[in-house]
Amino acid sequence: MSNISILFQAPPLALQLVIDGFLIGAIFALAAYGMALVWGVMNIINITQGEFVMLGGFVAVVLYEAGIHPLWGVPAAAAVLYAVGWLTYRAVIFRIVDRDLFTSLLATFGISIILQQLMNQVFGADVRIAEAGLGSWFFADGLVTISQIKVVGFFICLGMGGGLLLFLKRSRLGQAIRATAQNARAARVLGVDTDRVYATTYALNAAICGAAGALVAMAYTIHPYIGLPYTIRSFMIVVIAGLGNLAGVVVAGLGLGAAEYFAGFILGAQFQLAFVFLLLVVVLVVRSWRLAMKRQYLK
């Protein structure tokens, strides 16, 4: 707690935390956007979200260890994860699209355990990075450091988010996806192949997460067990923003990133994840209170 006073004595440190928070917040927002897409279109809360991020990170790490510049990992991870997402849909997800939410929760939780343990078995539990070899900018006498790869990652996230938005708004398939989200049965009646829409949506979501994961591996670190926190962050952001509220997702994502950095600094890094998960509980409790207040009783 004594760290709070440090923040007041050295305002640049607070600035540093905000910048770092926003830079990783863009990645959170991107993953959350994918989760909102799957949730809205397929009515599935995808617990595997974080594992897709983790897999994307490992694609970048593999490329890096093979001597290829890890920035190539972003498209590579997107491509690989698109295939993984498609396969996952064809193997499991299409069987649970129409089932109740708890089934899909538990099934995707099972898939996430499979992926996480598979990667643990293949790559080991060590922390890995993909060094992009970019430097840093220094401001305010070195008190504020901005690593260039994080900035690159930030803009890649923005670009992908924008691209996805354009795809959904303009392309024929994007229109089919939005139509299915509005009313799957009506879309089917009007000739939309909803099964294909679901498969594409799920694979697209995996691809976005994979690209985000490649950025995580370059700017931060990656290991087989980072998945669940990313899932929880995505869920939290979607709950705060509401389904289909893109601006809300961006704001909530950046805000969550900053909040996390402040919490990590003030409480100590060992409590940063505890903060994320407790924040989830707080967000959900506040949500249920607000809903309860809307209920009216007859006296």
């Binding site: 069987r95 598979l118 989830l280």
Partner: protein
């Protein structure tokens, strides 16, 4: 099954339970674990199956019970911070037999009390949520509790805490913990069996079927939900205390608050056996524990992957569980007349 069959079955299970460590001493620990798993599955089903509140966070009560028990066991003789600082390896921490047993008894009681207190505090906050919000919130609670314990130096932080070393004079403590687990499983089973014959189960079933209607009928749903949640926590707290001593080592995220192992296993066991029944979780726990031990023995390293596959397979292809399947195949045996659910699923969809 008539009442006599049921009584015979319980008696047979009890006899096997009592004689097991004598007949097959090599499997005492696995069998003790099975009794605890039965407690986990039964208490999960109380809230998840009977009340329809699917929780991923019941593991919180196991962890709380585990830590509370270990802390009380240590603190009757030594300072907890000194004990955890020595990483349990210090030879100066000796527990004489009578102090050990007193500590164990007090510890289990403390585990139960702590778990119930946590359940009461969290209950009114968390149980206001419905459906998947509740499920994910409890998932978050489980992980948060693990992360908090992993950051708390007094409890040994990330390095965990060893259960107090049992004194030699007591003999084989595995036997002690085995019979404790057996007794707990029996008490849980009979207790819940009694509970499922009272009006209380009608109330929680009503909440599962339609909470708004139940409330409109005059049920104090919040109080009932918190009560059911706390009853589960009571048994889980004691089970956690025993489990910690059986495992000897309490790791905050891998043992105590492990959402990806015990936390999801209890859900799986209840579903595998059949949700919303008394015998289902018991059968599910037995099948699961046997399968798990097979995986651990024959799939070196890949057992956790295989367990993940098992989760997906059961949830996707076998959601009705063993008892549900038997009930579908032989409805007459359960006293049903053969007519339930003659409306095909597709037709139901159109009706709504």
């Amino acid at each position: 099954m008539t009442a006599r069959h049921r009584l015979l079955l319980i008696a047979a299970a009890g006899l096997i339970g009592v004689l097991w460590p004598v007949l097959l001493p090599a499997y005492t620990i696995q069998m003790a674990e099975l009794w605890l798993f039965i407690v986990f599955a039964l208490t999960w089903d109380l809230v998840g199956g009977q009340m329809g509140y699917n929780s991923f966070g019941n593991v919180v009560f196991v962890g709380v019970g585990m830590y509370a028990c270990a802390v009380v066991q240590v603190s009757i003789l030594y300072s907890v911070s000194a004990y955890t600082a020595a990483r349990g390896g210090g030879t100066e921490f000796v527990f004489p037999p009578d102090a050990y047993l007193t500590g164990l008894g007090l510890g289990l009681a403390a585990g139960a009390v702590a778990a119930v207190v946590v359940a009461l505090c969290l209950g009114s906050l968390v149980l206001g949520m419905r459906g998947h919000y509740f499920a994910i919130c409890t998932l978050g609670l489980g992980v948060a509790a693990g992360e908090l314990a992993a950051g708390w130096d007094w409890l040994g932080a990330g390095a965990g805490m060893t259960a107090p070393p049992p004194p030699r004079e007591i003999g084989d403590t595995n036997m002690l913990f085995y019979y404790m687990s057996l007794a707990l499983a029996a008490v849980t089973f009979l207790g819940l069996g009694w509970l499922y014959r009272t009006r209380f189960v009608l109330a929680i079933n009503a909440i599962r079927d339609d909470e708004d209607k139940a409330e409109a009928m005059g049920l104090d749903t919040t109080r009932i939900k918190v009560t059911a949640w706390a009853i589960g926590a009571l048994f889980l707290g004691v089970a956690g205390g025993i489990y910690g001593n059986l495992k000897r080592f309490i790791d905050p995220t891998e043992v105590a608050f492990s959402g990806a192992t015990v936390g999801v296993w209890m859900v799986l066991m209840a579903i595998l056996g059949g949700k919303g029944t008394l015998w289902g979780p018991v059968i599910g726990a037995i099948v699961f524990q046997v399968t798990k031990e097979f995986f651990w023995t024959f799939l070196l390293g890949w057992q956790r992957v295989a367990l993940g596959v098992l989760i997906v397979l059961i949830v996707v292809f076998f959601p009705q569980g063993i008892l549900g399947w038997v009930r579908e195949r032989f409805p007459e045996r359960f006293g049903h007349t053969v007519e339930p659910d003659t409306v095909p699923a597709a037709a139901k969809d159109t009706v709504q």
